[in-house]
Symmetry: C2
Subunit: 308 residues, 2 copies
């Protein structure tokens, strides 16, 4: 099965369109995990990070369509952070979770190939363990153009997935992404051009039985009108939708990101779930707080889609 | 001294506008370094990578304005690769080399902060060693807009530098970067908008005594006309110019990227220098081949600027 098929099967089987972002900012980890940890000791921080991420997966694994590790917070801890990232991905795999590496990489030639090989590859090391991250999908920045995507698309042809940043969820996303290109009736924003590229790349890969491409888009929940326009124009592109929760968007804003069967998109939340303990009546139960928050958001998204 | 001052001083003192890219693609390392190395063993590959990169710095250090590690090839080797990256950067620091981390990161909020803290930070770990990479500058992808750059600009205010991808050197760079935005006489390509943003950010940082900003641009040597237009329009922005050598551009194409004093830009070459041994009469002397290639390119750039 290719990536789009696997993701949609997970959505259907688990009745969840939710993905949870693992953004283990060490400054926000539960105090119990930081007990005795010297904040200058990256190895100790990385162990707390691994414990936290595995604990979150245990708490929410059955409630989510995929898990999305945010690579920056692991890179922040250097070599120990990458060991943590790989340990977390390995645990995600044993839990049959679909893994989306949120790396937002973008480069050219052999450099892009190295990024693709690491994040999406499956080469095996001497210890029988993967000698790469081997995520199911990753996020990509397409600013460098179509040729920069080819190494990643090679992996899509072999079953992996990518999400190209189209319209991101932050306030400044309009600075470049909303700029209008072209003339007359062809005039369209830059993020629309990224979607056109994703659609073109889709013609080079197998679409799979749900008629969705494994070349998808990142489309921010904070811009529901733009998201709806993209959905209407590109019915085969899967959307990965950040911006719900801490960034302010509501599930009800997202109805138009989905097709008539309630498919075609997954909605990510990171901080409002993994750090839910911070606003909880019982902050020591960080796993329980994450589970409660994930369940509530999963149900809220499903409710918003009812009667579509 | 801020980054732009330090880089220009290095150019002036060493009479070199050359930066060398450390792109240690393990498949291209000199055979002598791969002897007995199991290609599936990342720890062994990382050791060979470190030895190679230090060897290259020893061979070319006095000939270059800065060294530019390409992070992808280190990430490719996971935790051991990051240990190698940090070891290489540490050695570069002891050799007083200016370090440009070629990471092309771009993200938002606390994620962008984590990337900035790692690549540009200077926090110290328990062992007295830096608990981050701590490069002097890094490359950035600005597709996510101005707010996504703020964590990096905070470091620029404290002496570091950034280079925003404007017009990259690859054939597909035109797919998005050349698209025209705006109307009438304000009509200009997307890469020009990135330069406008860099210029605006420059007003928020101190420019330094050479009147160059530590917010610079990546401008591909393979597009000399666009580079010349950017140079003319943005006289305060430092250029990092890839695309010479393996990618086909010639130093003579670059005259217009420099100001009247021959300053304002550095020219990067990676493969054609570090892997020069592959086209050498004596391929076992990979350091000598790299030195010869670097010296020739340094001189060729300087010659091209004579009489400016």
């Amino acid at each position: 099965m290719n990536f789009s098929e696997r993701l949609i099967e997970a959505v259907t089987n688990k009745q969840s369109r939710l993905t949870v972002g693992l953004d283990p900012n060490f400054q926000l980890l539960p105090p119990s995990l930081l007990e005795g940890v010297n904040i200058g000791d990256r190895a100790m921080l990385a162990r707390a990070t691994t414990e936290f991420c595995i604990g979150i997966m245990d708490a929410v694994g059955d409630l989510i369509a995929a898990i999305k590790p945010q690579v920056a917070f692991f890179e922040r801890l250097g070599p120990a952070g990458y060991a943590s990232l790989e340990a977390v991905v390995k645990e995600a795999r044993t839990r049959n979770l679909i893994i989306i590496s949120d790396a937002k990489r973008g480069d050219i030639g052999s450099t892009a190939q190295a990024y693709a090989d690491y994040h999406l590859g499956w080469s095996e090391g001497v210890d029988g363990e993967p000698s790469c991250l081997g995520a199911d999908a990753m996020t990509i920045n397409a600013y460098l153009g179509e040729d920069s995507l080819e190494p990643f698309i090679q992996y899509v042809r072999r079953g992996r997935g990518v999400f190209l940043l189209a319209k991101t969820s932050n306030p400044g996303s309009g600075d470049f992404q909303d700029k209008l290109l072209g003339d007359g009736k062809d005039r369209a924003p830059l993020y629309h051009s990224v979607a056109v590229l994703a659609e073109r790349l889709t013609s080079q890969v197998s679409v799979g039985r749900f008629d969705y491409s494994s070349v998808g888009l990142v489309v921010g929940a904070t811009y529901p009108q733009q998201a709806a326009a993209l959905r209407a124009a590109f019915p085969r592109l899967l959307f990965l939708i950040p911006g719900v929760g801490a960034q302010g968007a509501k599930p009800a804003d997202l109805r138009d990101c989905f097709d008539r069967d309630g498919l075609g998109a997954v909605v990510n939340s990171s901080r409002s779930i993994i750090f839910a303990y911070r606003d909880s009546a019982n902050p020591s139960d960080w796993q329980g707080a994450a589970r409660t928050a994930a369940m509530a958001l999963r149900d809220e998204i499903n409710s918003a889609l009812r009667g579509k």
